[in-house]
């Protein structure tokens, strides 16, 4: 086993054992061509929990997060996912649409049944929370602003299973605190969150469980 795991005492939101986990996966693996990135990962995530995956860059944290979200398929026939709530995922590369402004980047992913006016109001609320102007285009934003927009979109989706890939990257201390507060608020409200970072320091405040990944492939038992 190449990982060490433990609890982080800093964050006190309670895991909810009364309802089923939002994610339950057993022995999941993932290859890219000949490279094995994830080997036999077994994980469960409950409401109120903030799981932090830390480790060096390029080790497979993002791939694991994408598999957890359902944005990448695990290897066929190896392991199984028994339970997975609808996930909201913030990609490491932000995955912003450059020809849409900040507001439309958020409304793009909102449910089609939502009236246009409600969708715009939702986008505006989250943009305001993360200090962004709605008419700004990604090309005119700094790395930190693009990261905040990507985070705003992940939260605006209104889902209870939220996965954030390097949420603190490119952000200064002030904005890291705002994001940490948002993560805590969601966990207290009953969401389950999983985060990755190559740097453990921003996790100290928010994580309730931490898995340190030291080498590739990622093995979690």
């Amino acid at each position: 086993m190449s990982e060490t795991s433990g609890t982080c005492p800093a964050f006190s939101a309670k895991r909810d054992y009364s309802s089923p986990p939002l994610l339950e996966m057993n022995g999941i693996s993932k290859h890219f061509a000949d490279k094995e990135v994830v080997r036999s990962a077994t994980l469960s995530l409950r409401r109120g929990e903030v799981l932090c995956l830390s480790g060096p860059s390029g080790i497979g944290k993002s791939t694991l997060l994408e598999v957890m979200a359902g944005a990448a398929r695990p290897d066929y026939g190896k392991g199984y996912i028994t339970r997975r709530a609808q996930a909201s995922l913030m990609f490491q590369d932000d995955a912003l649409l450059p020809w849409l402004n900040a507001r439309d980047n958020i409304t793009y992913i909102l449910p089609p049944r939502l009236p246009e006016r409600t969708a715009r109001a939702t986008a505006r609320r989250w943009l305001g929370r993360f200090g962004l102007e709605e008419g700004l285009y990604p090309a005119a934003m700094s790395g930190g602003m693009r990261r905040r927009l990507s985070l705003a979109r992940a939260f605006a989706a209104g889902r209870e299973f939220i996965l954030l890939d390097e949420p603190f990257a490119f952000l200064d201390g002030e904005w890291q605190a705002v994001i940490a507060e948002e993560i805590e608020t969601h966990a207290r409200a009953g969401a389950a969150l999983a985060l990755t970072s190559h740097d453990r320091s921003p996790f100290v405040r928010v994580c309730s469980r931490e898995i340190v990944i030291e080498r590739s492939p990622v093995v979690i038992e």
């Binding site: 994408e66 995922l89 932000d94 995955a95 450059p98 020809w99 909102l110 089609p112 090309a139």
Partner: protein
């Protein structure tokens, strides 16, 4: 004279000089001088024939290009979204792209006789592979994580098409469309020369057939002038717009 017009004036003078030189070397029977060509051109313009034939050629070229783009975008979208289909059709598209227009011209002449069908079908066949390729390659170049994100959030297909896929392929498509327009225009003239009774290409053929060198040069001049107008007023601005959109999309993977 403004800096914009100076190159055009220089090119017109150079063309006039070449006509004059040919006239001096070959004589008026084979190479009429610039003044005789301009006189023939004026007569064609005043009689209305020039504009009638010009309209026919432009209409045929545009019809072929528009039909090819409608079909090319629809097929290119399907192939771009289904990589297996793109791999499967790649050799066929390469074969169509390298196929000279004369193949289509002779086939359509056999199937449909001479007339508008020949230039329209030739332009369609010559430009369809370009429209298909630019659309399919444009989709292949889009950020795959945005496809994954769209699937994850259940973004409806229509919204994906309108807000992600079509704006994403627009820069490449505009660049391709400018090349298609240029190729389509030339194909239309060649197809008319070989397989039609009307249009500028056909007029060049009949002038050549009757050895009416003044008229032949006047029609050729019309083709050249129209080509320059197309290049300056349509193709260059389209390429500029494509480059501008491309640079805006350069941040797509950050």
């Amino acid at each position: 004279m403004s800096k914009v017009l100076l190159p055009y004036a220089f090119s017109a003078l150079a063309l006039g000089f070449l006509l004059w030189l040919a006239n001096q070397l070959l004589g008026s029977g084979l190479a009429p001088g610039p003044l005789a060509v301009m006189e023939a051109w004026k007569e064609l313009a005043l009689s209305g024939e020039l504009f009638r034939e010009l309209g026919i050629t432009v209409l045929r070229g545009l019809t072929g290009v528009l039909l090819a783009n409608l079909a090319g975008i629809a097929l290119g979208l399907a192939a771009g979204l289904i990589p297996a289909l793109l791999r499967l059709t790649a050799p066929l598209v390469a074969a169509l792209q390298s196929c000279p227009p004369v193949v289509w011209i002779s086939l359509v002449m056999v199937w449909a006789g001479t007339g508008s069908a020949v230039p329209i079908a030739t332009v369609f066949a010559a430009t369809l592979p370009f429209a298909f390729s630019t659309t399919a390659q444009g989709i292949m170049g889009l950020n795959p994580r945005i496809f994954a994100m769209s699937k994850l959030y259940g973004v409806p297909r229509r919204r994906q098409l309108g807000r992600f896929i079509l704006p994403g392929i627009l820069p490449g498509w505009l660049g391709g469309f400018s090349a298609v327009l240029s190729a389509g225009w030339k194909s239309a003239a060649v197809a008319e020369f070989l397989g039609s009774h009307q249009g500028i290409g056909a007029k060049i053929f009949w002038s050549y057939h009757k050895l009416d060198m003044e008229a032949l040069n006047a029609w050729a001049l019309t083709l050249i002038v129209l080509g320059v107008i197309l290049e300056t007023a349509v193709i260059t601005p389209l390429r500029r717009k494509a480059a501008q959109l491309e640079s805006r999309g350069a941040s797509r993977n950050v």
